[in-house]
């Protein structure tokens, strides 16, 4: 079984580029050039340097002693929360801004839900002195005022998406429309391992720095490169794809995906795409997505704004269908409790997205000598208000 993308842009049954003809030249330019650009020595050099000096990589692989004792197994946390801008998102935006520069683009667009990807994009645009336009659902703009302010301080223009449900999927639609209307000078920085080929693969490759580092860091700490399990939360699935990437072809490494069950998988308020989704087309790729019987895309729900995407990256649909990945879903309450547990056992306040991955111990029992690496995809500063409301702090 093959878990990498094939030459046609598919992961098994999923992926492809289901895009209107108006987008074809943009996507085709990227498809034919992305690997070549990414493999240029000058590109690799600049990418590596920025990840080191600007993002602060390598992010630590931290042995969580008290968390390990509590769950009677060996838990390592991959500290993406310590990156500049507070999450894994910046790995991808650094990579894509460099691609955009190589392609001669002078205008950047992006979509954002909670604002994390928007902030990471605005950040790299400021760094490079390139115009930045971020599409964000009107409702999300109201919910995420601090991130809107951050983007503005970084010089980005935040455009409200007022169509449809006025959230992430609509912001994505608006960004795609912008790209249709500006086909020559603009690069679209997609924030997750979604969208038409080559986006899922390109984003995954930029995020694969996570598993690349895990391998040598674990070698230093445990004397072996491969953990028994890698665990990550999944919305669109970019931190997960990066966390799994270098372990995909090694069947000894268990791959665990944690989705947001919201108020319960069958509550009608959930974002557990692999459980509730059916094969279909969203934002240019064939994947599992939440939709009505009539094929209308539905609005997911999670307490975590970074996980409430109605689809999932095509690589993850493939991992799910082939059984290579073990998929779990965690409710709002369980995620919040796991987040608080990490605060009190390790002194780390996680993003609520990452708290979902930390709740894996409720559903999966590990052996005492298992080495379990959990991707701590982001930090919880942005979520304080939600934590305050939830725990009545």
């Amino acid at each position: 079984m093959k878990y990498q993308v094939d030459e046609k842009g598919y992961y098994g049954d999923f992926g492809g580029a289901y895009i209107p003809e108006m987008l074809y030249p943009n996507v085709e330019e990227l498809r034919t050039k992305y690997l070549e650009v990414m493999n240029e020595p000058s590109f690799k050099e600049e990418f590596k340097q920025l990840l080191k000096d600007y993002v602060g990589r390598p992010s630590p692989l931290y042995f969580a002693k008290r968390l390990s004792e509590k769950h009677n197994t060996k838990v390592y946390l991959k500290r993406e929360d310590l990156n500049h801008t507070g999450a894994h998102k910046v790995n991808n935006t650094i990579g894509q801004i460099l691609v955009a520069k190589k392609l001669g683009k002078n205008r950047i667009i992006a979509e954002t839900g909670a604002g994390q990807h928007g902030v990471a994009t605005a950040t790299v645009c400021a760094l490079m002195g390139i115009e930045c336009i971020v599409y964000m659902g009107e409702i999300d703009i109201q919910r995420q005022a601090p991130n809107v302010a951050r983007m503005k301080m970084l010089g980005a223009t935040v455009v409200p998406a007022t169509s449809g449900s006025k959230t992430l999927k609509d912001a994505t639609n608006e960004a795609i429309r912008d790209w249709i209307n500006n086909p020559v000078d603009t690069h679209y920085i997609i924030g997750s391992a979604i969208g038409p080929h080559p986006y899922p693969d390109m984003v995954t490759r930029f995020q694969s720095i996570i598993s690349e580092e895990i391998k040598w860091q674990l070698k230093e700490k445990e004397g072996r490169e491969n953990p028994d399990y890698v665990v990550a939360c999944i919305g669109g699935g970019s931190n997960a794809a990066g966390t799994y990437y270098h372990f995909l072809d090694n069947p000894d490494v268990g791959i665990i995906a944690v989705e947001a069950a919201g108020k319960g998988i069958h509550s009608g308020e959930s974002a557990a795409t692999s459980q509730l989704g059916k094969e279909g087309i969203i934002h240019g790729c064939k994947t599992l997505l939440m939709q009505t019987d009539d094929g209308q895309i539905t609005e997911p729900y999670s307490i975590s704004a970074g996980l409430d995407y109605p689809g999932v990256g095509p690589i993850h649909s493939h991992l799910y269908r082939t059984g290579r990945g073990e998929f779990f879903s965690v409710t709002d309450d369980d995620a919040m409790t796991a987040g608080l547990e990490l605060c009190q056992l390790e002194g780390i306040i996680p993003a609520i997205e990452s708290s979902h991955a930390l709740a894996i111990f409720n559903d999966k029992k590990f052996k005492p000598d298992d080495v379990v690496v959990i991707s701590l995809s982001g930090r919880g500063d942005k979520d304080l208000e939600t934590y305050i409301n939830h725990f009545k702090l």
């Binding site: 289901y18 209107p20 003809e21 108006m22 169509s163 009539d294 094929g295 539905t298």
Partner: protein, 261 residues
């Protein structure tokens, strides 16, 4: 091929063979009111329109501008579904003769089942499909056989950015007409076309394609219709017609159409 099938194919091709410029109108099924669909089609034919594109509403219409998206949102709120559209259209051929094309996004068709969708189209008397997010290579490889089995003409889009080579490939896969998107844009009404569009119209004319071309996106009035059809076989109006429906309802369609020619 059965005789019925041949007839179906011919409705679009017959229209294309007429010695005049074709006016095609797009509207969203289930808009303004859920059960306006049939009345809009009948009134369009009565007012002299040559071809109709029936929009199957979708929650996330990437290629459309705000006017058509808003009409889709309303239609879905009204309760429009693929099944209901087929139900509304089941007797349409007893009253309407001009070619009917369903324009919609691929996901709702996938969920209905591609073969079942095509079979239903044939049963009703739909002549063709326009699916903006089904790429030509994907169609050619996986779906062309099924579409053709049910006598459906699939119409592809080209834009000012489409290369000559790709246009020739699209021409080779097409068997009705080519939908010429007027500019790099989502759907939406414009008042005039500039030099860039004119150069594009001229470039396509010079390619001497086997399929005639019909221009869409940005056609809104007599001027844009006339300019677009100087070189192309016809033009499609969508957003401007939806706006007319929004403001005036379904009873004054005649006035709108008369203003275009």
């Amino acid at each position: 091929m059965t005789e019925k099938l041949l007839q179906m194919k011919n409705r679009i091709n017959e229209a294309l063979q007429q010695d005049k410029k074709l006016l095609s109108i797009y509207f969203t099924a289930g808009y303004p009111a859920l059960h306006d669909t049939v009345k809009v089609i009948q009134n369009l034919e009565k007012s002299g329109v040559d071809m109709i594109e029936i929009g199957l509403p979708f929650s996330d219409p990437l290629a459309d501008g705000p006017t058509i998206q808003d009409s889709s949102t309303v239609a879905l709120k009204n309760g429009m579904t693929t099944k209901l559209l087929f139900e509304q259209l089941k007797d349409i051929r007893s009253s309407v003769e001009i070619p009917l094309i369903i324009m919609g996004y691929f996901n709702p068709m996938m969920q209905y089942g591609i073969e079942a969708f095509c079979a239903k189209c044939q049963e009703i008397g739909i002549d063709g499909l326009i699916i903006p997010d089904l790429p030509v290579a994907e169609y050619h490889e996986h779906y062309q056989e099924t579409f053709e089995k049910y006598g459906l003409i699939n119409v592809f889009l080209i834009t000012p950015q489409t290369s000559d080579e790709r246009i020739r490939f699209i021409d080779s896969v097409s068997n009705g007409f080519i939908y010429m998107v007027s500019s790099a844009s989502t759907t939406g009404a414009k008042n005039t076309f500039g030099d860039v569009q004119q150069q594009y119209f001229d470039r396509i004319e010079a390619l001497d394609l086997k399929n005639p071309q019909i221009v869409g996106f940005g056609i809104s009035n007599h001027e844009t219709f006339t300019q677009a059809t100087q070189t192309a076989k016809g033009a499609i109006i969508g957003s401007a017609f939806i706006k007319h429906l929004t403001q005036n309802g379904v009873d004054t369609i005649d006035e709108f159409v008369k203003g275009i020619r």
